[in-house]
Symmetry: C2
Subunit: 369 residues, 2 copies
């Protein structure tokens, strides 16, 4: 895309009327925003937000936060990420009838379009103070995540009593999410020439009983707040070997455990460590904490109840856990089918985008849909 | 080493009197000859051989073959490699009393020194026609091996009725050697997100029972010609894993089997394939055939008997198997302790070099030591 045509799609996204939500989503899809290249899209979003009366707009890098200050008792944070995964022959938006096809149509520029219209049409008359968060780099390694940056550098901007992430959920309320930890186990041995293996100690042989114990093992599902969390345990890596004629002196095994939010991180870790018994070293190498569904929290209950939403848990990890870890109960609720995210056939329907907007507007105004 | 000082050590090696075998070995050690950089040493060896009356000297690349043509009924091939492993702070030869320290002192420039003196002093009066082979690149991958090259390009030069390799054996006769094969087993699976492993099939889990079956398994020793061959089986590599949140779809396991020469390659391979049952693919990736001890072969028996040598089998693989595969019974017999080969402390004693020379000279002349 040339600089000139990029400027053109940015201007179009900044100007598109939000009354046509599918059209606005298409205008947002037209602005490329692969992770770490979200700046043009952030510019368009910022331009729109700065035109709205009564919103305090702050930009932190390529993250934009717009807040009302109506003096309401409670504050609702609504958030969407600006980035997409790389294009898969679907960079150009295409509307066919009532369906928009294109990269980010579901994940999650339709959610961003809904947030923009809520900011423009509903925020000023909301029964809650509203915070709209648009952030970078959700689709890549956590260290780049814009929401992480905001919580670290400007926690005041993302504070609130309840958070809604507009990730695609097909208008289900997704409550809570599994935690995910990775542990790396190392088995030591002693090198020897394979003509004389009895002079050494084979580290792969030492790892074998542990691999055998882990094979096919799946933790039981757990119920939390009436939702069933299917837990999971997978050996994701095994690496050992020095050379074709050397008894290997080292073998590493990496296990990924997905755990229900009724377990603590420490409990999940202890469980995996017990299974890795026999290893010489076990290290916790990655932690993504779980998020409790918090269905009994007043705002979560009201959100689900008022809108009469179907509720399920999230198997994968999402940024609801980040809000949850900072004490803000959070749910995913957004337009689009999560199953088409990250695929060449990504799309969203007009009914889904409109439905999301209608539901959130009703929640903010305090009226049933 | 500068060009000038290299020319100097080459000239010294070409001129050193073979009557002082330890001194000649030191002169050979002084000429660097790490694998694939043997040319200067080959030049020195060639210069010495060309001064000897009655020897036909041929050079094939950096391999030198010198042969008598006395019309004897039988021909004995005596061979030594010119190359060394890389230096380990021991490139400069150092004689202390009756011990020479330095890279290649044992493996196997002392053997090369013995061959040169035999060519100079004994070959003309031997009861066998003699072939002296000096070859490159024994210490690295087989594809570079000079003896392999000679058997492929000039089999006439290495033909004979019996072969002696002057690898360090501490003056034991090492008869036969184990074969070595490697097989790679691949286990397939189906990728899935680790939040939903039940949608995939974990290839590491599929490999686990095989690894468990192989762990610690050692084949029984086998007797061949009264020598005990300790066989061996080692898992030398295991590799699996795609990413920290992906159920892996592929795991490979590599097994190295060392087998006694009473087994055929096919028997050894079938045994390993049976142990790898459960793998989706098994491929034979490396073959080094075994060599039978051939202790009942007249020349082997005469060599051991006349010289009253202690006999053992070779656990590692050596070029005796190459001669054996070409129908030439072969043994290892050389000066120096095999245990110090490839170590910083490599050395050889005067008694060992002299002992080797005396024994081989006696064998060629047909007199007991």
């Amino acid at each position: 895309m040339t600089d000139a045509s990029l400027a053109e799609v940015v201007a179009a996204a900044a100007a598109a009327p939000s009354t046509d939500l599918l059209g606005l989503t298409a205008a947002l899809v037209a602005v490329p925003s692969v992770s770490l290249a979200e700046e043009p899209l952030a510019d368009a979003v910022e331009a729109r937000l700065r035109r709205i009366n009564g919103l305090d707009v702050e930009r932190v890098g390529v993250n934009i936060v717009a807040r009302t200050n109506l003096g309401r008792e409670r504050r609702v944070v609504m958030a969407g990420h600006l980035d997409t995964v790389p294009a898969n022959n679907n960079a150009i938006p295409r509307i066919e009838g009532e369906v928009l096809h294109g990269l980010g149509a579901a994940d999650m520029k339709s959610g961003v379009a809904v947030l923009l219209r809520l900011a423009e049409e509903v925020a000023a008359e909301s029964r809650f103070d509203c915070t709209f968060v648009f952030y970078e780099a959700e689709e890549i390694a956590d260290e780049y995540n814009g929401l992480r940056k905001l919580f670290a550098e400007r926690p005041d901007l993302v504070a609130g009593d309840f958070a809604v992430l507009l990730e695609p959920t097909d208008l289900w309320m997704e409550a809570g999410c599994q935690g995910s930890i990775r542990l790396e186990a190392t088995f030591h041995g002693r090198r020897a020439h394979t003509a004389r293996p009895w002079q050494g100690d084979n580290a792969i042989d030492r790892a074998a009983p542990t691999l055998q114990r882990l094979a096919g093992l799946q933790p039981q599902p757990l119920e939390v707040d009436g939702l069933t969390f299917r837990q999971a345990l997978s050996v994701v890596s095994v690496q050992g070997g020095v050379a074709g004629n050397v008894v290997p002196d080292r073998c590493t095994v990496v296990v990924n455990r997905r755990y229900a939010p009724s377990l603590t991180l420490e409990e999940a870790e202890a469980e995996v460590r017990a299974l890795l018994d026999g290893a010489d070293e076990v290290e916790l190498t990655s932690v993504s904490p779980a998020a409790h569904p918090n269905l009994s929290h007043p705002l979560v209950a009201e959100f689900a109840g008022l809108l009469d939403l179907p509720v399920r848990c999230k198997l994968g990890w999402t940024d609801v856990a980040r809000f949850s870890a900072h004490g803000v109960p959070a749910v995913n609720f957004g337009p689009g089918d999560p199953e088409v995210s990250h695929t060449a056939g990504e799309h969203v329907t007009r009914a889904s985008v409109e439905g999301c907007y209608t539901a959130l507007a009703a929640f903010l105004r305090g009226a049933a849909r």
